[in-house]
Symmetry: D2
Subunit: 140 residues, 4 copies
């Protein structure tokens, strides 16, 4: 599971393929287990009461594991999410970015699986944990 | 599990508590098992390629089960999602609204659970299935 | 999704391929949505306190969705469970069999997905809900 | 999350409360994040073909996270599993014990959440990943 896309290659891919949301994210690091992805929390990510919304946490988990997979298999734009399981552990406060730390667990021929632990920047306790499965299209 | 909020009461609650997204949704029916909620699919819900995005499906599932619970226990604005599990089954085409059909499975003292089957309007095969758990705050 | 294996064909398959546990199960019906599978609850399925154990509920869900898939695609002995998500809703009392009602949600080329609602025989409220994903080996 | 039950206290609890299965398990360590639990794989845990069965992996995950929670909150015999989500990543070969490494993610007043990575003893790649939620009964 040696990376085939580095930080800059992932960033360019994100800007090309997810143009509408690319400015929300920043790739912090490509790690030995996966990647670390930052979500720059802004007004549009909040719910009334001032916590980050569920769809925003889902989006962070989805993009983070997706990019972690691509960092190992290269830019396969068509990989599709087939399953997501998320535990919401604590309310993520407004005013802090979110950091998603991905562990790749399986890179198979047809399925890839990773999990991600999401923390508010500067706080220890995780706010959410998610595992995501992606179907990889056959080469051809 | 007899409803205590009808269609109009749920609609008003949605408009009050989720003002930013209320116009995206329409309550189709309060049913014997839960509710049916429509997501009016618009440009902002799509991914490149023209399918509805994952975070949009998550939001539909989350709001649908949330409103179904409230239809039975009344307007408890603070119920919190603790777990979500989603199977993405088929790509939802652009140009069709999505309909989420909720079955309430448990309304306990501290936890409520429901699942939702999501279809593109006019098509038989489901595009996603989700189950959601909510923590209900203690009465005080 | 017209069945290609009927009640008797499924029963023979179960006895051949799951000889150790076949006597625990009975196929109640092949339905338009999937199948209904009975687990004959016995002493070995119980936890201290007299409720059916979690691994037993998992096994019922797994076998039920597996057989429902085979009822549509024929006896592919090697389909593998890749994901399971289970909500435990109520304690299943001892002294009642369990009935798992399967809905097949997707029968794709490489993945099949079904969910199952589990009830104690004679009681209305479900004791568990599970969704299961199986990887189908390529033909060849 | 400092442990309040050590290795020996957990072992005694396991023998008292799970007498039927206690001999299958061995507590390897109480760690800073949770515990490590060994399943001594035997004939009864195998499926035809010689891999460890799904219900066995479920049981390992369930007991491991349960004991990890108790190691922090003390012997509350009535905590109940409310949700389990499992990814089956690779077939666990027969002839090797399984090791489940638990990370406690939340120890709340009413809910506790942990995840567990399961490996075959001596092999690097995980065979399964599970997250489990438990409802903690109110003190009284």
């Amino acid at each position: 599971m040696i990376p085939v896309m580095d930080h800059d290659a992932l960033r360019l891919f994100l800007e090309d393929e997810f143009a509408q949301v690319a400015q929300d994210f920043r790739i912090e690091a490509v790690t030995s287990e996966g990647i670390i992805l930052r979500l720059k929390v802004a007004e549009g990510h909040l719910r009334p009461g001032g916590t980050v919304s569920g769809p925003t946490l889902f989006a962070l988990a989805d993009v983070a594991v997706y990019l972690a997979i691509l960092s190992r298999i290269g830019p396969v734009a068509l990989a599709v999410t087939t399953n997501a399981s998320i535990d919401f552990l604590r309310k993520p406060p407004a005013g802090r970015d979110l950091l998603g730390e991905v562990r790749l667990l399986k890179l198979g021929r047809t399925l890839a699986v990773g999990d991600v632990l999401i923390r508010s920047d500067g706080l220890d306790d995780p706010v959410a944990r998610a595992s995501m499965t992606y179907s990889i299209p056959p080469k051809g």
